[in-house]
Amino acid sequence: MATHQTRATARIMMSPAVILLFLWMIVPLVMTLYFSFLRYNLLMPGTEEFVGFLNYKYFLTDPSFFTALGNTLTLVGGTLLITVIGGILLALVLDQPFFGQGIVRLLVIAPFFVMPTVSALVWKNMLMHPVNGLFAWIARSFGFQPIDWFAEVPLFSIILIVAWQWLPFATLILLTALQSLDGEQIEAAEMDGAGALSRFFYLVLPHMSRAITVVILIQTIFLLSVFAEILVTTNGGPGIQTTNITYLIYAQALLQFDVGGASAGGIVAVILANIVAFFLIRLIGKNLER
């Protein structure tokens, strides 16, 4: 009886959030689905007509599509790799007592507060610029030819910028996890003569696995739709080397104003996102259920 009541209360408490989110998802989604079957270009009103799967055909047969898909995955994967490994190392350092630890921690988390647009602008113009940038100056002072970042290694440059923004987040979560590690356990291992490396791999890393999973989950959600950094720095180029799915849809929606095509792209992206979500759920499910 009591459980019945609790369950009813629980349902009522959940409903506002769930209903609103459902509406937020379903209304635009249905509209998008509808538009995706129309020839609908904002610049040519009055020519709307039902075209079946034509928009999907064009989007999926776009030679850029698979490149964009690959770029999206590389971007997510690359950034995750840098932030997770970097975050673990950084957390290990920050976990040690040292002078001015508090201030260093402030310095390390700072990039997280910076707007993506701003950080992209700063990196592009002030650091990575091949003529006036600081990196170019450093390279030249050591007698090297400066790297032309956005022409030679465009996707890596973007990964670098995005990773810089997300590294603090990963570090913070991983640090929290690290600090919850039982000190006695480590000491015991130390007594047993376990080296630093084996302590790390057999004690610390397993302890952090849950935190790592969380970092991967949260970041993936945000990284799948990285956009501002690309728009500001490379506009998806050179060629289509930095075009991800989000940017591809953007080009349809806001350069060609092809609402039909962009909607079809949006639906495809939703399906892809759900595939990713499915794998994430399995991953998380295993790791978080414990």
Partner: protein, 276 residues
């Protein structure tokens, strides 16, 4: 002996820690410094670090060109507003999920998170049409609504993982004592949940503050926050490094300072269930 090692160790880590910290912070520091240079010194070779003629010219220029206070106010209203509404919706939901979970709780949570994976640009036109018909274009209310919905999944998720850490026995003990549901929430749950709520709030203010797609596309003059402010400096004609730096500094300073001051609260609850 042991002491000596630990001091040396401490010194090593101090150097390492500071080196990494400064390296990561450098782009921000560099932007800050450049904002006080003239356009000429901003791109001088070799770069000038501290010994240049400091000037406020760029800030005057930016101030003259845009209504900074209006943008800041909008940013504050939108990010704080959407976060508070988000919390009001999410706290009960997360509470329910954490304390009377059903078989479907996990699915609901994952579904919520998956709504965040849709690329916003795909639904821009539908949403623009809805906003136009409801008169929400270029209103703070409209932006608050959108950002609430965008961040709601993260809020729910964060709170849920945090609430779940609260041992159920305490609640049961309270229940045994005959505390009503209301009392249970106010006297038992809230104090334990405050760090998590505070941290969720801070994180979401940051996320909302930095959201650039919807805020830029659904606002014009009245509701435009700092993301729109920065868009007017992103690639103007001629030399712009110093002006860009000044505008960037102005755009990130408020949130950076808030972040630094509330750093402890932010970190304390920022676990996402990562710690067990």
């Amino acid at each position: 002996m042991a002491r000596a090692i630990s001091t040396r160790r401490k010194l090593t880590f101090s150097i390492l820690g500071w080196a990494i910290g400064l390296l990561i912070f450098f782009p921000i520091l560099w932007t800050f410094l450049t904002s006080f240079k003239t356009e000429g010194t901003a791109i001088a070779t070799p770069p000038q670090f501290l010994f240049f003629d400091w000037t406020l010219e760029n800030y005057h220029e930016v101030q003259a060109r845009s209504n900074y206070m209006k943008h800041v106010t909008n940013s504050i209203v939108i990010s704080v507003g959407s976060t508070l509404i988000g919390l009001a919706l999410a706290i009960p939901a997360a509470w329910a999920m954490a304390f009377s979970p059903t078989k479907r709780t996990k699915d609901v949570l994952m579904w919520m998170l998956s709504t965040k994976m849709m690329p916003p640009v795909g639904v821009l036109v539908p949403l623009y049409l809805i906003f136009r018909d409801w008169g929400l274009l270029d209103t703070r209310l409209g932006l608050v609504a959108v950002l609430t919905m965008i961040n709601l999944p993260i809020i729910v998720w964060m709170l849920y993982t945090y609430f779940k850490e609260i041992p159920g026995e305490i609640l049961e003990a309270a229940r045994m004592d005959g505390a009503s549901l209301m009392k249970e929430i106010v006297y038992v749950l809230t104090p334990m949940a405050v760090p998590g709520i505070a941290s969720t709030m801070l994180l979401n203010i940051i996320l909302a503050w930095n959201e650039a797609f919807w805020t830029l596309n659904l606002s014009a003059a009245n509701a435009a926050p700092l993301t729109a402010f920065i868009a007017s400096y992103s690639s103007p004609e001629g030399l712009f490094w110093a002006k860009l730096s000044a505008a960037s500094t102005m755009a990130i300073a408020p949130i950076l300072i808030m972040g630094w001051f509330s750093q402890k609260q932010l970190v304390r609850g920022l676990t996402f269930g990562a710690v067990k």
